[in-house]
Amino acid sequence: MTYNLAIPAQLMAALGPDLVLMVGAMGLMLYAAWRPESAEHQRRVGFASITVILTTAAAVIWYASSGATASPGVIAVDGFRWACDLIFLAGAAATILLGIESNPRDRVLSAESHVLILFATAGMMILAASRDLMIVFLGVEMMSIAVYVLAGINRSSVRSAEGALKYFLLGAFSTAFLLYGIALIYGATGTTSIPDIGARIVTYSLVHHSMLLIGVGLLLVGFAFKVAAVPFHMWAPDVYEGAPTPITAYMAAVVKAAAFAMFFRVWLESFNLLDGAWLAPIWWVAAATMVVGNVVALSQRNVKRMLAYSSIVHGGYLLVAVASGTSLGSAAFLFYAVAYTLATFGAFAVVSSVSKPGTYATAISDYDGLWTTRPWLAIGFSVCLLALLGFPIFGGAGFFAKWYVLQAAITSPRDLVPLSVVLVLTSVVSAGYYLHLVRVMFMRARPDDAVEPAALAPLTRAVLVSCVGLILLLGVFPNRLAMWARSNALVTSTHPPTAAPPIAP
């Protein structure tokens, strides 16, 4: 069916899954606040949140399979939205599953933490759906505000609070840039509708319009901050280190995926023709992100920080897909997001179970000789690390994710072969730290005084096993995922220009 978004009822209907999630989240928030904090309560709320997520996911799948479309309007009803929603929901579920078990160990007893994840996820779904910069802003803020709180959810930890403060201040700061960019774009084109912006750039030949370009630049600053691209990445390692481990995974994988979802939507549907302006900046930002992220990751001694830099690097790889500026790039993003989310959650599941209770910090040396005492844990972690490295078979889907990005880059009319070479060369650098962890686990002797991590809790084990299993499975049979990604990819601006008011000076 086709939703006519001009009719409020149909607009609401088109927002069905989002509403399911929001309503469920609000209800749970009340329930969470109803009882005093306890491990048992947060567990209950956690499972209830999972239920909400599953319901939402069912709705998303129903909408996706109905093949619904919509008239032009503020939200999109397309495969890309549903695909992104599924990724966000899966990530949120994994976060909650990890959190249910790790929160009590980290003395995080507030049940609201799970609900906040639902809110953040709702914001992401809005982001994925948005087809208007106003909705983009709304989604970004819905997501970010919840995540600010999540980063500082461990009130007993100064590190957690510090991370939250940094994230909040810098996040708000960058939001201002984002917003100013939107204002200028609005000023230049007279609309905040994403497809209309693209159309008006054509109609009024705004390719060299300076207000528009400055606006796009400011918007890019905002986006680059959200995806933690160099040099707007500085917050990421600190925040990731301070946050509870499941939240770190959530930020590293899901929040980043959401930011990229909006990035792709806006870039492909609005600014496809401005590549003369944005190609070089994005090229350099992508290259700098890959180089700096990898190089700094080399010198990390803390696994969480290392993985934080690794997540920065992956943002850089995805920026290559953005730079391709093609529909294929967004397909690559979907594939990449799936693989990267799996690998990230797998890795953080291990980190969370190896870290000593109460401290999120895990030194690389804690992993010395892990293989001798916990072989499967070591093997699972290695698979995730190799997936992050993008190694075939052993790294499973990670390889094909990178492959897809490279494919997008090389087929792009923007000749990104040199950037592809930068990508693979920096990947070699990344082998330096991913493999360092592998060799620490496999090739060093277990110190005599090493504290053996407790046996994996069932939910964490489930997350780890399913992540690793899926990585390996998708690494051998990636075809269905590839086709799914391709069929849900964004389509570059095809909407006809609408009637437009006169142009600002």
């Binding site: 106003m134 802003f137 709304l138 803020e141 505000i145 600010y148 709180v149 500082g152 009130r155 100064v158 590190r159 609070a161 510090e162 991370g163 939250a164 403060l165 940094k166 909040f168 201040l169 708000a172 700061f173 939001t175 201002a176 917003l179 100013y180 939107i182 204002a183 200028l184 609005y186 000023g187 007279g190 609309t191 905040t192 390692p237 600190d238 925040v239 280190e241 301070g242 990390q300 803390n302 920080r305 008011p501 006169p502 600002a504 000076p505």
Partner: protein, 97 residues
Amino acid sequence: MLAESLTLSAALFTIGVVGVLTRRNAIIVFMCVELMLNAVNLSFVALSRLYGATGQVFVIFVMTVAAAEAAVGLAIIIAIFRHKKSVNLQDINLLRG
């Protein structure tokens, strides 16, 4: 009139940025961010004279969101104050490297 408004908006935004860069107190930094948001609001309002209501709607959104942000932000600042007994950003550098 439009040009002047936009210029004023840009000036306010810049003042906000400079404030963020130079001030050390977390609350003042946050206020500077609010100043930047309001500078943008001014632009929206000014532009809405040209394009219609969209800009004004946007301003409402921004104000709402800013309020929510302020609530969360102040809570976070209080949380850090409880640990550190200070909201000076120079003192807050446990996480680094």
